[in-house]
């Protein structure tokens, strides 16, 4: 009975996603949607002929990887520094959850206000005498490396990972650390032998989720990313809103490529988990 219930729940969860995928797949070959002209692989050929695709995909993967890595590192450091169960951990947890209710759009706006060349950071640096004028501030938004976008996305995603890290250390992690300490391990040895492996193993599913989300996020990207190269989500939206409806097929191709990125990350994670299970 439980098995049947679980199957039904999985079906209900998966159905909207599967409908979306099916729609994009059919629309990408001209069988559905506005401008459909019957089966054709022209949209696929056109999307892959466009150099913007690979550049946008590469740029989005870079931003997603860097933001996810930064958020993960910050979560690990904060969880390790502010030990669960202490008063300082309560303060750290409070600070960590503050960005959680903020929307990605608001985080993007905040990024512009703080990191832009006329933003708070530039004005502060000017007032401190570090730069001659606010405009002399190195570009942190709309820049080729996506520094501002990476920082904003990392800041927005870090609380999610930090809360998981806190709970990992509060429960089993703490007992394992105690075991290591009474066996003779000092601070650094405890971190590398226990804290890091516990966090790494426990955080990985959430890290994969963050990566997949960040790779396809639109709101902060549209506010902070450069126009060249155009990030994959922006390129997708541009194709979809193109005046020529024929471009919509390409937009669906890009949606499917974004999907492959997310599924690829999950598949890599599952393969790593399976390898780990085999080792036991």
């Amino acid at each position: 009975m439980i098995r049947r219930g679980a199957g039904l729940a999985a079906f209900l969860v998966a159905t909207p996603v599967l409908i979306g995928i099916a729609y994009s797949a059919l629309a990408s070959v001209g069988l559905l949607g506005p401008g459909s002209t019957g089966f054709s692989t022209a949209s696929w050929a056109s999307a892959f002929d466009d150099p913007q695709l690979l550049r946008g995909l590469g740029w989005s993967l870079w931003v997603a990887s860097a933001a996810t890595a930064l958020a993960t590192m910050a979560a690990v450091v904060v969880a390790a520094l502010f030990r669960p169960g202490t008063r300082s951990s309560g303060v750290a947890r409070l600070l960590a959850v503050m960005p959680l209710p903020l929307s990605h759009l608001a985080a993007g706006v905040l990024g512009v206000l703080v990191l832009g060349q006329s933003g708070l950071l530039a004005r502060g640096a000017f007032m401190a005498g570090w730069i001659d004028q606010p405009a002399a501030m190195p570009a942190l938004i709309y820049d080729q490396w996506g520094i501002g976008l990476i920082v904003v996305l990392a800041w927005k995603e870090f609380p999610f990972l930090a809360l998981i890290a806190f709970s990992l250390l509060a429960d089993r992690g703490r007992a394992l650390e105690e075991a290591a300490r009474t066996l003779g391990a000092r601070g650094r040895a405890v971190f590398w032998a226990v804290t890091w492996p516990v966090l790494w193993r426990g955080l990985m599913p959430a890290v994969v989720a963050v990566f997949a989300f960040v790779a396809g996020t639109y709101e902060a990207t549209v506010l902070l990313a450069p126009s060249d190269p155009l990030a994959l989500p922006l390129l997708t939206m541009e194709r979809y809103t193109d005046v020529g409806v024929a471009k919509r097929g390409e937009a669906h191709v890009l949606v499917l490529i974004g999907l492959v990125v997310g599924i690829g990350a999950v598949a890599l994670h599952e393969a790593a988990r399976a390898r780990d299970r085999r080792a036991t």
Binding site: A179, T182, P197, R201
Partner: protein, 345 residues
């Protein structure tokens, strides 16, 4: 006695309230002492404080002759084993056991040899390459014990090592613990289980009311508990309040002649179930009463007999008398222990 652990008037709080107030105890090298206490008495807190995982607010902790009261856990020489074995999940069994030796920078070949010896000593050699997730509860306990021994500690602190195990695994882990004899290491094993205490201990330390109430070999402890509260905790059911006068114990049951060194004045007579038997035709009953309840223990069924205002528990004869039957009881005076004072347990 070469001391592995000495606690002098040690006090530890339970969070922000006073918990353990005055704990004094010594464990010799090679000795296995069981810390016996009811749930919530502070067994875990005491072990954690010895290991340096809880702050000591008063008194001192001496491990291997060195005062470690203010030392961090890693330099105390006391390994604490959690109730649920805390094996590192990302390391296989051999790497878990090697862990404390790697910390000490021991040569790789020596580590490998020692790991093999230790795994063989706890009979899990064939599991060396497995991860903890693939081990049974008993196997995990064995590996945790091997890893603790690998740290070469002065003291092993085992927190309820048998509490979460089913009967088969309990027996398994008990055997490992009783076979494990370490000349240079003392063992302090916390438990609330009387059977475990009897089976595992060279001596039993009873922790009651925030202090060590009595330390004695198990047999002596059950024969002569120091206080009525200890007798009650040990489950000794027969506790009769009375006075010793003129070589006899006087209570509402009457006079019972007693010999030997018995305290005079108000006392509580404490004796186990097997000190009371139902009189057969050849014996003269000392006291009569009505059977009010039957206890169907697996090994030793007993009966509860109401003798006036006194309730006694006696071994059930065969056939077991029915409820309401009147029986005569014989009490063996040689096994009665007299505790001065009154029954305030």
């Amino acid at each position: 006695m070469t001391v592995a652990l000495r606690l002098d008037s040690m006090a530890v709080n339970f969070g922000s309230v006073a918990g353990l107030t005055d704990v004094t105890l010594a464990v010799a090298r090679g000795e296995r002492v069981v810390l016996l206490a009811p749930s919530g008495a502070g067994k875990t807190t005491l072990l954690r404080a010895i290991a340096g995982l809880e702050p000591v607010v008063n008194g001192s902790v001496v491990v291997g002759g060195r005062d470690v009261t203010n030392d961090p856990p890693e330099s105390r020489g006391a390994v604490y084993l959690h109730q649920t074995p805390m094996l590192f999940p990302h390391l296989d069994v051999a790497a878990n056991v090697a862990f404390p030796m790697r910390l000490r920078g021991i040569d790789r070949d020596d580590i490998s040899r020692r790991v093999s010896e230790l795994l063989a000593s706890v009979q899990v050699s064939e599991l060396a390459g497995r991860r903890p997730g693939a081990l049974s509860g008993g196997q995990r306990h064995r590996v945790a014990l091997a890893r603790a021994i690998a740290a070469n500690p002065q003291m092993l602190l085992l927190d309820e090592p048998l509490a979460s195990l089913d009967p088969g695994l309990r027996q398994d882990v008990r055997q490992v613990l009783t076979r494990t004899h370490l000349d240079g290491t003392g063992m302090l094993i916390a438990t609330h289980d009387l059977d475990d205490a009897v089976l595992l201990a060279d001596r039993v330390a009873v922790l009651l009311g925030g202090r060590i109430a009595q330390v004695a070999p198990a047999e002596e402890l059950f024969r002569a508990p120091a206080t009525v509260a200890i007798a009650a905790f040990l489950g000794i059911p027969n506790r009769i309040t009375g006075r010793v006068e003129d070589g006899a114990f006087c209570s509402s049951m009457g006079r019972l002649p007693v010999g030997g060194a018995v305290p005079h004045g108000p006392v509580v007579a404490v004796f186990a179930v097997d000190a009371v038997t139902v009189a057969t035709g050849d014996e003269q009953a000392g006291v009569f009463g009505e059977v009010v309840e039957l206890h169907r223990h697996l090994r030793h069924p007993s009966i509860i007999v109401q003798c006036g205002s006194v309730t006694l528990e006696a071994l059930a004869p065969r056939p077991v008398p029915s409820r309401g039957a009147t029986v005569g009881l014989v009490i063996d005076p040689s096994v009665i222990h007299f505790v001065p004072g009154t029954d305030d347990a």
